[in-house]
Symmetry: C2
Subunit: 563 residues, 2 copies
């Protein structure tokens, strides 16, 4: 008799735990209500002072030390392995643990350094966590599906099981990164919460009453608690930016064709109307820039047919730095012009998000920049088309993954169960045409802002909520419009952490009159007592393929608000 | 009673003719057998010496004269209008004629020049012909459909009829180009021959027993007879390159995302597995480069959501020029490495194509370059997937266009009539996945040639047939594999004219044993008597988004073989 899905899930869950060395186990981890916030002092109690120092250093600063030989790759790797082990026991954020392999590769890097007196690449000795869509040798990829345990993407006998590696994995290794774990995702990947039948629910480290976000939720939780300095997620409707925002991190959704997705597992692979993209989350903008530059230096366009030949464009970055006077040439200093989208008119942001917008606007205006109201073409119209792409196949792909084991769908994605009729090729094509038309309208609106700015340029970036709430409460993630409109337009977007919920300040709107039931649901989900302390973030949205520019602006905005 | 499709087609056909001034009409144009080749001396008899001089000048040379005020835009425009008028009467190559509007815009350009002592843009005064997918103010777009006459893409009351202009039209006008006619296409666009119920069959000017090619067949015929110095076609399976090759022209299929398709009519719009691309055909490589650079200078990525921000990359061009020693720095001169695909193993090229390959290989080897056998992954496997994309919608789109008027399908595209079942979203997605996997395989093969070249680089370009025959005989275009594999891979390809059929040299292969029925059909279609004099061309295939590099190589190869 084959095992039940429950047994298989339990064995996998236990195997993950078993990969944590005994000395790193926590006896009786606290219940959520006993310890809501497990960041900072709480998690530090399990670590040595040196481990705290290492793990609370940003990726770019770590690399400055490892490429110069000041810190050994092994010491850095061991520290992050330890903190990640603690993280998983508090948050359920890991799917795969391969600390031994990580330490071995760190040792090899140190040996290389000792022999050659130079680093192997720009990420020498940097631990990097990966969402459980990346294939890594000697590790599984379950993507949260019980039916994928022991298989290659649900198939057996492919010869790829535990041996195939995704293109970006190769490039990260070639750059000197150390891979040590893969992080949790919601099964199907189509949720802003991370839950599956293997690891359960991934909690938000800053406030364990809240979701870590999704679908790169394990990344968000792990980096949020500093169990990783930097990791990679993917984003088809917000899945990099949601966990970044919910965990007070920087995260970038690059436009399609910039970063290599080649050889990764995915849901509904081949749906190419709105493509999922891969990108990093980290605790600083220079960290994001570091890995993007490192990967582009590997010329991914020679190994991923969907990546454009766009090396890192220093000139795009320089244009912004010169406008900001950071070039040291004051005569060239100018100002930036921002749009602000205070609401998309579909769901109004909750009080903490509104306060975050005020903070950013005031900081930027105080520095002499311009912020104008963003009045784009209807997001409703755009989103109506965009959401169709998630159900083109009526759930055929994800249903087949569930049927492998007979496991049930989580509530968060159970809408797939009710879908029956696939879109026809004509219907897919009609959606593509409509999306293209709406992109064209939006781009011409963006062009038209040249007439209302004082810079002579269209708006440089749009300040905008990433979600209507600071972080979703479990099973209350009902609206994806703020993140997904960016995917529909294929724009570049960087999440910037702004502040934290203060229950005394971010009070419930008295007498609020909801737009409709959807808006009412979000309004009613807000409870200052529950949200107190949660991270509050926004996104800075730029045009397509503006990664260099948007990172420069995000770094500047982060500094402007003291982050 | 509404008119019959025959009446409507006849009226449109007569209206096209009626747009030709009386003094440019040809009394009793010769029958095909009376005058097979209507280029050169034959067409020149209808023109003044000055008109011949102007119209036999390449686009880049014309522009040198118009931007410096040596030639007036009006004189140049009138000369091409005249020659285009003659062309249409001999070849059936025009759908729309707007000579009066062209002359008026030429006069406006001359007035601008007189007032400002400078050209309005880099294409100042250059007549440019457009395939009948471009929307131009005051002209119709029928795309060969009787049912589209008097409509906007088959619809009435859109407010766009005869007023809307495609994005590239705006950019061409802004660059100083003069638009004067739109050229014929096969209805549906899905044929390498150009035939529809309005203008009939577009003939090859060099050999009117043969097809002008398609689907940009009107462009091929018109530029082939020098009724246009340069025009734009589109290419989803070869439709720029086929007419370029059949008419002894240079033509480039850029990769997707390089040139703006925004606002053009199309067939099966929204099928985005293999996208149609737009690109120029002309009589010289510098002409192609001129217009591509002019369009990129207009920043089309700000107005077309599918165009990547890739300005003209001089460095990519320079790399090739330096390898060829054209920089004047002999110390840097090196060599190029070419692959040669003598057959794809599905259909063998006919004798004139094989001779053309020998000519190119000998010329390049004689100049010290390297030519290695190209042994790529199976083209059959790749094409099997690629051709699916043409029938995803089971002809739903094109059938609806035919049903508007009740007109019949031409034999060339009548396969659409037999299709019944659309692909589902899952089936479309599966094709997308497979195409991506095959692109990956092909790109890794290309990378691997680094091991067999002597340059230390992978092959720079692949020399390859564009079709198994020099030009198709009517109703004998049975195989598109040589052109379509390039679309499947989204590679950059430039057609280079090589030679002409010589019946005494290019004899039928005695004792040839065909691969199968398909190959046999192509073999049997070859008749040296019929083909004598026809243009013979090849394509040079480069990797994705290598337009600068491939134009530089194509220009060099053209010179090497004396073209």
């Amino acid at each position: 008799m084959s095992k039940s899905w429950e047994q298989r899930a339990q064995e996998k869950r236990e195997a993950i735990l078993a990969a944590i060395p005994q000395e790193w186990r926590i006896e009786n981890p606290p219940l959520v209500e006993e310890q809501v916030d497990v960041t900072g002092k709480f998690v530090q109690q399990f670590l040595s002072e040196r481990e705290v120092e290492i793990t609370e250093t940003t990726a770019d600063e770590i690399v400055k030390r490892t490429v110069s030989g000041r810190w050994s790759a092994e010491e850095v790797t061991r520290a992050f392995c330890h903190r990640a082990a603690i993280a998983h026991q508090l948050l359920n954020c890991l799917h795969e643990i391969f600390f031994d392999a990580a330490i071995a590769s760190a040792q090899a890097l140190d040996a290389y350094y000792a022999a050659h007196k130079k680093p192997i690449g720009p990420l020498h000795g940097l631990p990097v966590s990966l969402k459980d869509q990346f294939h890594v040798k000697d590790a599984e990829t379950t993507m949260g599906y019980v039916g994928w345990i022991g298989t290659f993407e649900g198939k057996t006998g492919t010869g790829k099981e535990k041996s195939f590696e995704s293109e970006m994995v190769r490039e990260l290794r070639a750059s000197g990164a150390v891979l040590y774990c893969k992080t949790s995702v919601p099964h199907t990947l189509m949720s802003g919460e991370t839950v599956n039948n293997i690891i359960g629910y991934t909690l938000n480290p800053k406030n364990r009453r809240l979701a870590a976000g999704g679908s790169s939720g394990g990344e968000g939780a792990l980096i949020g608690i500093r169990g990783s300095p930097l990791g990679f997620g993917t984003d088809i409707g917000g899945s990099i930016r949601i966990p970044a925002a919910f965990n007070g991190l920087y995260g970038i959704r690059p436009s399609t064709g910039r970063m290599p997705y080649e050889g990764m597992a995915n849901s509904m692979d081949g749906q190419n109307s709105i493509l999922s993209v891969v990108g990093p989350l980290a605790t600083s903008v220079p960290s994001l820039r570091l890995v993007i530059k490192a990967l582009l230096a590997q010329k991914p366009w020679l190994h991923d047919p969907l990546v454009h030949e766009l090396p890192w464009r220093f000139d795009k970055e320089r244009e912004i730095l010169e406008l900001l006077g950071a070039s040291g040439d004051a005569s060239k200093a100018g100002k930036l012009s921002f749009g602000i989208l205070r609401t998309d008119g579909i769901v109004n942001p909750l009080p903490p998000i509104r306060r975050a917008m005020d903070i950013v606007v005031q900081a930027l205006e105080g520095l002499g920049h311009e912020v104008i109201d963003w009045k784009p073409p209807s997001h409703k119209t755009l989103l109506d088309e965009a959401f169709k792409t998630w159900v083109f196949d009526a759930g055929t792909d994800v249903k087949s993954a569930f049927s492998l084991s007979g496991e049930p769908m989580s509530d968060q994605i159970s809408f797939y169960a009710s879908l029956a009729k696939e879109y026809s090729a004509s219907e897919v094509a009609a959606t593509n045409v409509r999306l293209r038309q709406l992109k064209k309208e939006y781009m011409e609106y963006w062009n038209s802002t040249e007439q209302v700015t004082s810079t002579g340029r269209p708006v440089d970036a749009v300040i905008c909520p990433l979600a209507p709430f600071p972080a979703a409460r479990p099973k209350m993630y009902t609206y994806y419009g703020y993140s997904t409109f960016v995917n529909a337009l294929d724009y570049t977007s960087v999440v910037v952490p702004v502040t934290n919920v203060e229950k005394a300040v971010d009070r419930v709107d008295e007498g609020y009159r909801p737009i409709d039931g959807l808006d009412k649901g979000v309004y009613e989900s807000y409870d200052p007592e529950i949200y107190d302390g949660a991270h509050v973030s926004l996104q800075l949205v730029g045009r397509r393929l503006q990664e260099e520019k948007m990172l420069a602006i995000a770094e500047y905005v982060g500094k402007a608000i003291g982050k």
